[in-house]
């Protein structure tokens, strides 16, 4: 059982305040969805948890199993079991997916890393995601379609087996079929490993496949409402402006 706890976190970039006294706790086996309009700090939250140095934490704490991880660098946080599936996975010319994953697993496992089981598992996971095995030997995300890039993020998640999974708009750029594959693949991982999952999304369609236990609405750097899945319907009906303007939104409701 792992817990990620964010306490009174305030974050800025280039003197612009993005997250303001932000609080959230997620535990193994829980699925949380953070929804909100553009520019309210959703992606910032995931990057700050991961340790992106471009963002300045002005106050607050990020606790992993009650230990403050604020001073850990990005790779140290990743090796604790924190994973960020990126909104726009970058292309890395010349570095193959296989080399990338082999290096990552070698960093995590050290002497326990064994090449043959790695290859076997990588092939099996590539097949399970409906990816062509040839893609393993291509440069990371180079020439991949939007759907292939997102599947590649899920492949990395399968291989690294994180306990805290953050997926930042993993649904963006996906067609209906790719969305189904990605959504179902995340749920397969969830059923097997029972990680804590933090989804960032604008839209309800991803939540057709990944059912969150908690839905949070983020407006202007703060969670303004937390409910169960029923909140998604309310967002669909009312839009985000309702939560900016409605008095009800000023009170956080814990599911």
């Amino acid at each position: 059982m792992h817990t990620l706890k964010i306490v009174n976190l305030s974050v800025s970039i280039e003197n612009k305040s993005i997250l303001k006294d932000f609080n959230l706790t997620i535990k193994s086996g829980e699925i949380h969805a953070i929804m909100g309009p553009n520019g309210v700090g959703k992606s910032t939250l995931t990057k700050v948890i991961m340790g992106d140095k471009n963002y300045k934490v002005t106050s607050g704490e990020i606790l992993f199993d009650d230990k403050d991880i604020s001073l850990l660098n990005v790779s140290e946080r990743a090796n604790l079991g924190i994973f960020l599936g990126m909104q726009n996975p970058l292309e890395i010319d010349g570095v193959t997916n296989a080399d990338f994953l082999r290096t990552a697993l070698h960093s995590k496992m050290g002497k326990d890393f064994k090449l043959m089981p790695f290859i076997k598992e990588l092939n099996a996971n590539t097949d399970a995601l409906g990816m062509n095995r040839e893609m393993i030997h291509r440069s990371v995300n180079r020439g991949f379609s939007g759907g292939e890039k997102k599947k590649n993020e899920i492949l990395q998640m399968y291989m690294l087996k994180p306990s805290i999974v953050m997926l930042d708009e993993i649904d963006s750029g996906l067609d209906v079929d790719a969305l189904k594959v990605v959504g179902e693949s995340v749920m397969k991982y969830y059923e097997k490993e029972k990680p804590a999952i933090l989804l960032i999304t604008h839209y309800q369609r991803l939540l057709d496949y990944i059912k969150p236990d908690f839905v949070h609405i983020l407006i202007d750097g703060k969670i303004v409402m937390t409910k169960d899945f029923s909140l998604v319907k309310l967002i669909e009906e009312k839009g985000y402006d309702y939560f900016k303007n409605n008095d009800e939104s000023e009170t956080t409701i814990v599911a």
Binding site: S75, L84, D93, A104, L105, S107, Q156
Partner: protein, 261 residues
């Protein structure tokens, strides 16, 4: 594959077939002339255990296509290369350097109509390195594609790259791509020169000096890879990219591993 091993300034071993002729001369500066009479592949391995000066001349006769692979390792080296590329001949050069210090001059003459060179240099700099690469398009419909990548995490690198298309040599194409990865950009230089005296030509260049993109490092580190290992992986990627089909990957990785120590 045809193979030549050069130790310091003389040929130690050569295993080449009749498509290649080698003429070796010893004087104050040793010189090696290699004539490609038919299309073929050649691997040249240089190793130096002392400061070395050497002149190398490659001649491609008409209609010959050559893939030339070079690995260079060792002490301070000064090499002057000359290339004489005749009509319809094409040279694809893949050179990897990891000498302690390097001074290289490349004088490339595209002497025949429709002659072509693709020049791929990858260098891992330990100390000071300077490359003067001069491409002369001496005929119509000649083309050159110069791709230089330097990793200067320890030393510094200067790329002076000049392409010249003189009047009358219409239909020629000239492309230069130069990149140096370094944490100390002030000590490295790329000086691209395009000397064009003909209207009907295509010429372009691209020059980048700097460290790796922070967001790419963040991406790699977010998968648990330590910063130094991430930089190493990116350097390997730069060196291997475009080269990996022509060399064995293990051979190159061993080469790079020595650089990291």
């Amino acid at each position: 594959m045809n193979k030549i091993i050069i130790e310091n300034n003389c040929i130690k071993e050569n295993i080449v077939d009749s498509r290649i002729e080698i003429i070796e001369k010893s004087s104050i500066v040793s010189s090696i002339k290699i004539i490609f009479k038919e299309s073929t592949d050649l691997k040249v391995i240089y190793s130096t255990s002392e400061d070395t000066k050497l002149n190398v001349e490659y001649i491609l006769l008409e209609n010959v296509q050559v893939n030339l692979y070079e690995l260079r390792n060792g002490f301070k080296t000064k090499v002057q290369y000359k290339y004489d590329i005749k009509s319809n001949a094409k040279l694809y050069l893949y050179r990897i350097n990891k000498s302690n210090a390097m001074r290289e001059v490349d004088l490339i003459d595209l002497n025949g109509v429709n002659s072509h060179i693709e020049f791929n240099l990858r260098t891992l700099s330990n100390k000071e390195e300077k490359y003067d690469i001069y491409v002369a398009h001496n005929e119509k419909y000649t083309s050159s594609n110069i791709n230089n990548i330097g990793i200067a995490l320890k030393g510094n690198i200067i790329f002076n790259v000049t392409g010249e298309i003189s009047k009358g040599n219409s239909g020629s194409k000239l492309d230069q791509n130069n990149q140096i990865v370094t944490f100390n950009a002030s000590k490295c230089q790329i000086n691209p020169n395009l000397l064009i005296d003909e209207y009907d030509v295509e010429a372009e260049h691209n020059a980048i000096i700097g460290k790796f993109d922070d967001q790419i490092l963040f991406y790699l580190m977010s998968r648990g890879i330590k910063e130094n290992d991430a930089i190493k992986l990116l350097c390997e990627g730069l060196i291997l990219n475009k080269l990996k089909e022509s060399y064995s990957k293990e051979e190159i990785l061993d080469f790079i591993q020595e650089y990291w120590g």
